[in-house]
């Protein structure tokens, strides 16, 4: 691939885009070079993460969100990209990626591009190449990028680092209020969605989650019981602090999705007004640099150590002659 390889991407050629995504997913040297070239064209899209336990209706909700974004501004409709991650089998390395099944409403729309990807061993709810894929879509001019994580429960919080706005999707009847007070996934929510709001138990689910949300912000809650949003007295604070709204949706028929879109847009506005947008971008890029640096250093360092030395060292660990800590010190000193 030479210099002009990014032109088809920038001009929105879909097959070229699809092929580049494959290269990025496989982390080929050509893809790395192309990503370098595309990088100056990125930073324009609104990245929206959608996470939550398996079976809460994430794919159906993504389908609805995309549909509504396409319709929102008829004169100048947003282009929507969807990256849907499903788990790779830890035993065979294979995967069944089934998120498209719920997204058939979007087919035939040239302003939508759906890409399924397997997690390929990553444990944070995304795949290693997800960030790269998102960059490609961003450079290709998609204004809205929806990132659906694998069915995630408690610690799969990588999405919060990647996305500007993170939706955590819950549904009635999943776990009790103890689940709600555990650390992790609820903490990363910019917007909480109770999907399948037509099922029994929705009121219980909502009160458990609302209780949880109010605990996270005890001061305001003392003053304004239950009124999470748009309380006049907190307007000064609203500038710096975002109160995650709690919304009900029924993704199968689109109920509540319009309100959800309004909340997403409001969150983007809030981030831009308070500088949070730049902050998140900065944190994300710094984390990316950190990861890449670590990978590259380890790779280069390992390449310089003869495999024999390395296995001999491991053998010493097994025999308890060295601790892992001591082994690292020896390696760094070049004495192993």
């Amino acid at each position: 691939m030479v210099k002009s390889s990014i032109d088809p991407i920038l001009s929105g050629e879909r097959m070229a885009l699809a092929r580049l995504l494959t290269e990025v997913e496989n982390d080929s040297p050509a893809a790395r070079r192309t990503l370098d070239e595309l990088f100056p064209h990125t930073g324009k899209a609104h990245l929206i993460g959608v996470t939550g336990a398996p079976g809460t209706g994430k794919s159906s909700l993504v389908n609805q969100i995309a549909l509504h974004y396409r319709r929102a501004d008829a004169a100048n409709p947003n282009r929507v990209a969807i990256v849907a991650v499903d788990p790779t089998s830890p035993f065979t390395g294979g995967a069944v990626l089934g998120d498209r099944v719920r997204m058939r409403d979007l087919s035939g729309d040239p302003g939508v591009f759906i890409r399924s990807m397997a997690s390929r061993g990553s444990l944070g709810g995304l795949a290693q190449a997800t960030a790269g894929m998102v960059q490609v879509f961003d450079a290709a001019g998609f204004e809205i990028i929806l990132i659906e994580t694998v069915g995630a429960g408690q610690t799969e919080v990588d999405i919060a680092r990647l996305a500007h706005t993170t939706l955590v999707v819950e549904s009635p009847g999943l776990g009790d209020d103890i689940q709600a007070i555990k650390a992790g996934i609820l903490e990363i929510a910019d917007i909480l969605v109770i999907n399948k709001a037509d099922l029994p138990g929705v009121d219980n689910a909502e009160s458990a989650l609302r209780g949880m949300l109010s605990l996270a912000r005890p001061v305001e809650n003392l003053i304004h019981h239950g009124q999470v949003m748009s309380v006049p007295e907190t307007e000064s604070q609203e500038d710096s602090q975002w109160e995650p709204p709690l919304l009900r949706t029924i993704a199968t028929d689109g109920t509540g999705v319009e309100e959800l879109l309004a909340a997403i847009d409001q969150h983007a506005l809030h981030l831009r007004r308070t500088g949070g947008w730049k902050q998140r971008e900065r944190a994300r890029l710094e984390a990316e640099l950190q990861t890449l640096l670590t990978e590259t250093l380890v790779e280069e360092f390992r390449a310089r150590i003869p495999i024999k030395h390395y296995t001999a060292l491991v053998e010493k660990l097994v025999q308890r002659k060295l601790s892992p800590n001591e082994a690292v010190k020896l390696l760094l000193k070049g004495k192993a």
């Binding site: 982390d27 069944v96 498209r100 099944v101 890409r115």
Partner: protein, 134 residues
């Protein structure tokens, strides 16, 4: 992480509602280490070609029990070509009368499987079909 995975789209074109076979094949290909994109029932040729393009798959597997294969498959082959995916290997499973097979092979279908076809054979055939082009 640069190991190249085989990506397969498993789709059910047309109107019959029986996807047990397609799901069994999807699962078997998964167990063979492939990444299978499953699109569900009642897909039009346009939907299938679009998904194959967006997902940049190596293989498209079609399951057809309705008897409409001679209408659906040529259209899918044509659309794949229009999108620049003539290299994609197309496999067909289902109820396909013997006399239709030569015509389907002629328009580029790689292999056709009837009821009872051993899964291992399908897996091997896919691997073989992709070998020379890699």
């Amino acid at each position: 992480m640069s190991e190249r995975k085989i990506r397969v789209l498993v789709a059910k074109p047309g109107l019959d509602g029986h996807d047990r076979g397609a799901k069994v094949v999807a699962r078997a290909l998964r167990d063979a280490g492939m990444e299978v994109i499953y699109t569900g029932l009642r897909q039009t040729p346009e939907m299938i070609a679009e998904a194959a393009m967006q997902e940049d798959v190596d293989v498209v597997g079609l399951s057809i029990l309705s008897g409409a294969h001679m209408a659906l498959i040529p259209r899918i082959m044509e659309l794949l070509k229009v999108n620049g995916q003539e290299r994609v290997k197309v496999f067909v499973g289902g109820i396909i009368p013997d006399e239709d097979c030569p015509r389907l092979k002629e328009i580029g279908v790689t292999a056709i499987y009837g009821p009872g076809a051993p899964i291992e054979k399908i897996v091997n055939d896919i691997r073989l079909a992709l070998k020379p082009s890699k």
